[in-house]
């Protein structure tokens, strides 16, 4: 009987050992940290959702031209992008706003890569086709609540705002509202497309999106009598316009530098940037 017993004991011991090993390996896995050092084959680009389209397309073209290189692109918002490049969890941070004073000391180097203008959009059924910048501000601050106050029909205005992570909101707030608070009862939507989608479906709605995303489902208003056309934007007569930025920690080097140069090359500027609805930097002086 005792050899049998011994065998049974051995089997149990084995079972226990295996279970133990399983747990240990899980712990071991849990313990080891992911290496965060810069890689020569992987580039992490994080930030503005506005710049996301440019980054994505550039990534595809760049990866095709440089086999073995992986560019990881994530649209997390400008603030998160700045934070990620500052903390080293990405090599390039993208931002659709200027650095805040608090961020100036982070040692980030700014390279503008495109013009962006923000269009104020309404439902196509809305007869209003232009507003003054002051009127736009009054609407978004919640001081004007009905379209009949700005020459439209008697219709309640439904304000569609962006979330605070949005660089577009930041730019709009600074350029149009001068930093005054938005109407807190306005809907806050976390995506450009959703703003467009909602405005396209609600008669009284008003929102703002990058000109690049305006399509025929919505109507872009003229502001201070200036249409948001390409010419008006590049010659800076259209009042709600800004630059898009790539940020690196210190002067760009290695893969980040090559990728930046690629984005600024005509191959990207004249195709990708345009297709994404933005305007190229051209030969303009910085």
């Amino acid at each position: 009987m005792s050899p049998l017993r011994a065998r049974a004991a051995a089997r149990t011991a084995l079972t226990l050992t295996l279970l133990g090993a399983l747990m240990l390996s899980a712990l071991a896995l849990a313990g080891c940290r992911r290496g965060g050092e810069a890689s020569t084959t992987q580039l992490r680009v994080q930030g503005s959702t506005t710049i996301q389209p440019i980054a994505e397309m550039a990534k595809e073209m760049y990866e095709e031209a440089h086999p073995g290189v992986t560019v990881l692109v994530a649209g997390v918002g400008s603030s998160a992008g700045i934070e990620s490049v500052a903390s080293g969890s990405s090599e390039i941070g993208t931002s659709s706003r200027d650095l805040k004073p608090a961020e100036a000391g982070l040692g980030l180097v700014d390279t503008p890569i495109a013009h962006d203008a923000i269009a104020v959009i309404v439902n196509p059924a809305n007869p209003v086709s232009g507003l003054s910048k002051a009127q736009v501000a009054a609407i978004f601050e919640g001081r004007i609540k009905n379209w009949d106050e700005v020459g439209g029909p008697d219709l309640e205005i439904g304000i569609v705002n962006r979330d605070e992570a949005s660089g577009t909101r930041e730019a709009f707030s600074k350029i149009v509202l001068g930093g005054k608070p938005f109407d807190p009862t306005a809907a806050v939507l976390p995506g450009t497309g959703q703003v467009r989608f909602v405005v396209a479906q609600a008669r009284g709605a008003i929102g703002y999106i990058s000109v690049g995303f305006v399509d025929k489902t919505v109507k872009a208003l003229s502001v201070d009598g200036v249409e948001p056309t390409e010419a008006n934007i590049t010659n800076k007569t259209y009042p709600i316009s800004r630059l898009l930025h790539f940020l690196t920690k210190g002067e760009p080097e290695g893969l980040a530098k090559e990728f930046l140069a690629f984005v600024l090359s005509p191959a990207v500027q004249e195709t990708v940037v345009r297709e994404a609805g933005f305007l190229p930097m051209g030969g303009e002086p910085k």
């Binding site: 149990t12 279970l19 998160a80 009862t185 479906q201 609600a202």
Partner: protein, 320 residues
């Protein structure tokens, strides 16, 4: 009855039979130390596994609490829970979540008011009214409804339901009205399934006794069965409430996320759960801490619901 003439083998002397298990049979073995240790070790291993659940709850409370409590210390509990202003990015940041709490409650109670009667009705249908054939189709449908990911409910709410509400109300379509419908559908299967269990666990003799006294089906349901299943149904509704107040992804798509108590059911609003989704991507510092503070509040609310179910079940157990 056939009796044997003689008991077959018992009286014959057996000493001649070769049998290794005679009086010198092996002695009974005592429990060996290794066996004892092995079984005890296994039992303790299982106990440790079972305790993982307890550890998990404590870990969640500790980690979320650790990350969130500084905001209570900073703003004061009263200001955090009782403040109406959620202005985390203002120059003088304010972290009052009262508006979010109230919005969460309005969204939850409205969803419950719509969903619970529907769910209990469906449960009664499944357990008392439906023929087996119909039941065979409806019950899986309800169960499948429970399995659909909340993000799909959100998608449906945002893209199908919201435009309809927008048309009907003239607004943007975000608001309590839309959220109520989405939440009602989401909690329906939870409440229906548990209520049905409660109804079906009533012994069938009780139904027959009621019918035998000339009661109609409805009288039996209303006067006998629903009261008998009361505790189970209340449990189900509390569970549904818990699910509704903790629901995030479906609500964030239809709520519209304005951080005020809206002045109408077709106006955008922000809740305890959705503020986390909306703010997390850019929150830092105190703002981030405050979001963990919101998570603590949500955690405690959900624990309170579980405790309430315990208490109600215990009271119910004492009644019957």
């Amino acid at each position: 009855m056939t009796l044997r003439d003689e008991p077959a083998a018992s009286t014959a002397p057996r000493a001649d039979v070769a049998d290794s298990r005679g009086p010198d049979a092996p002695t009974l073995s005592t429990i060996s130390r290794s066996t004892y240790l092995k079984e005890a070790a296994l039992k303790n291993l299982f106990l440790v596994c079972a305790f993982v659940a307890v550890a998990a709850v404590l870990l969640i409370f500790m980690f979320v609490g650790y990350r969130g409590w500084p905001i209570f210390a900073k703003t004061g509990l009263a200001a955090f829970l009782g403040g109406l202003q959620w202005q985390p990015t203002a120059e003088q940041p304010q972290f009052g979540i009262l508006a979010l709490i109230i919005n969460s409650l309005i969204a939850t109670l409205g969803g419950l008011a719509l969903g619970a009667p529907l769910a209990v009705g469906t449960a009664v249908f499944l357990s008392e009214v439906a023929t087996p054939r119909v039941r065979e189709w409806v019950r899986p449908a309800v169960e499948l409804l429970a399995g659909i990911p909340s993000v799909v409910y959100g998608l449906f709410g945002l893209l199908a339901l919201r435009p309809i509400i927008a048309q009907a109300s003239g607004g943007l379509g975000f608001g309590f009205a839309t959220a109520w419908i989405v939440l009602a559908v989401m909690i329906l299967p939870t409440i229906a399934a548990i209520s049905e269990d409660a109804l079906r666990s009533i012994p069938s003799g009780i139904r027959e006794a009621s019918y035998a006294m000339g009661a109609t089906k409805w009288q039996t349901i209303w006067r006998v069965l629903l009261p008998a299943a009361k505790i189970g149904i209340i449990d189900a509704i509390i569970l549904g409430m818990g699910r509704a107040i903790g629901e995030t992804m479906a609500v964030v798509m239809v709520a519209g996320n304005a951080k005020v108590i809206p002045d109408g059911i077709f106006k955008p609003f922000l809740t305890l759960t959705t503020v986390i989704v909306i703010d997390m991507p850019y929150a830092s510092g105190d703002h981030r801490t405050a979001l963990f503070g919101v998570a603590i509040v949500l955690f405690l609310i959900s624990m309170a619901f579980v405790a309430a179910i315990r208490v109600i079940s215990r009271l119910g157990g004492e009644q019957s």
